[in-house]
Amino acid sequence: MPFKLLFQLSWRNLWRHKRRNGILLSAIGVAVAGVVLLNSLLRGMQMDMKNTVIDNLTGHVKVLQPGYLDDPSIERGFEVAKDWQLNLTPDMVEGWAARVRVPAVVMSERETRGIQLVGVDPARETISFLGDVAIEGEGLSGAADRRVIVGAGLAEQLETTVGRRLVLVTQGADGRNREAGCRIAGIYRAEVAGLEKAFVFTGAETLQDMLDTLMVTEVSVRVKDDRFEDSVMETLLDVFAGLDVMSWQKLEPQAAMMVEFSDSAIYIYFLVIMGALVFGLVNTLVTAVMERIRELGLLRALGMRPRSVVAQVVVESCLIMLVGVVAGLLIAAGVFSLIADGIDLTAFDDSLATFGLRPNFVPVLQAGDVILVAALSLALGALASFYPALRAVKLNVLDAMRR
């Protein structure tokens, strides 16, 4: 049977019962829009979680001395030549940074706190949250800057402010305690409040001097796209033979698991919503087919083969689904354009920080997700139409025409 005829009959039937099909199309449109927008929110949450982890001095890939994660001291550092360059194409790598990171105690005139003291080259920290963090006062001027910047949360705990001095105590390369007094150059405000209390930054060379070493404790690399992660790891394994080269998933397994779980959640939400819709769709299609059973009987009496009648019902259902999916995608695009810049969730800042999420929540619409929703909706529509279609041809032609 010519597809043109099937399409012609289906298209005209679509406009025949305007109110019923209008309600059905609205249901499909709202469901598809809902799934797409929910996907974008979940995907945004997923990306936010992942970016927070990567921004949080982790990077996509990190080079560490074996055992550093269990005992993060300068004794488990390694040397990187000052003029060393990561020999990878700029198309793959966004940047890299070598850091010295040791546990330390920071003291103000009034309070004492345990922190992570991180020696950085500020020019290289465009790959971490430090690159775009808001700073009150000044940032570090270079790897040799002897001042520190502290988080707003920590400054509040220490009851100190910009320009005041802090005393840092940590263990040197020789195992003996080292102490240094540093002036606060600036106070940073991170999007995730927990970071403000965890990290104090100073120049990398300054911290090496204090620890009496030329070693660093980590080299962090940020790639431009996830798909480059493996090849970057392979290169780093060659360059840093004998050291651990670890992906962010290995370094932050809990976050990686949550990111992976949210992938599954997206599909589960999709199946639940579309599954509910399919029941409605089957019900409506059965009604629609039964209403037209005489007409379908007539088509068969005139010589249309049973499989063509099935095809006609399936094409009609797919057409309804297609129009509904297009309407849903248009609704989703409209709503998404309103929230694309982000949703302000500062009121839930503390709760979000627990999950490593930022208060400005930005939804992410991925082409793959949209295609998947559209394709699966059409597939479910086709699947849902088989039952009513088979019911239509199961009836004897005469019985159908007598209805």
Binding site: L5, L302, G303
Partner: protein, 229 residues
Amino acid sequence: MADRVVECAGVGRTYDDDTVPVHALRDVDFALEAGEWVSLAGPSGSGKSTLLHVIGGLDQPNAGTVVVDGVDVIQLSEAQLSDLRLRRIGFVFQSYNLIPVLSALENVEFIMQLQGVAGAERRQRALETLDSLGLAELADRRPGEMSGGQQQRVAIARAIVTNPVLLLADEPSANLDTATTQELLDLLQKLNRERGVTILTATHDPMVMSYATRQVNLRDGSIVPGVES
């Protein structure tokens, strides 16, 4: 002697839907020659529509043989029966004859579309057929915009456009007034006489019977012997 278009021998049809079996046809022997217009007559429940449906491949007999244009209908699968109806038989039903979403022209084209006739040829033949039956002005109207009589006439146009060997009409005048019935029967007569279309009607309308070249009477599922006219 003309070619035999239909030959039924010992045809029986029993429905087991209820607790008591209903014998709609009992041992029916019937033949239809090319160019004839035979009217199956009889009261309601006599089996005339059942015989028409069995010959048209819309119903399967429990006994006997039915040969249409040399093809043993009983041996055919559902798909082969569809093909038989599509290529050799034209149907006019009592009501609900046309596809509601198609115009009169498209309804007439429909069978040819199923047969795979090319678009231009299809349209030309459909227009010619509508024109020859005086229905050209209805070409763009959908069934909902036509009277019952107009719909029946368009159904006849659709039934004959592919030159089938047999035109089956089941109670074609059932929902029509006398004047419209007469117009319809004049049209069928014209087709039968001028084009040699073989027609089999099932009816209890005396006006339809009067137009037929031969009448076969049925009662309780059997042909009443000696009452053929």
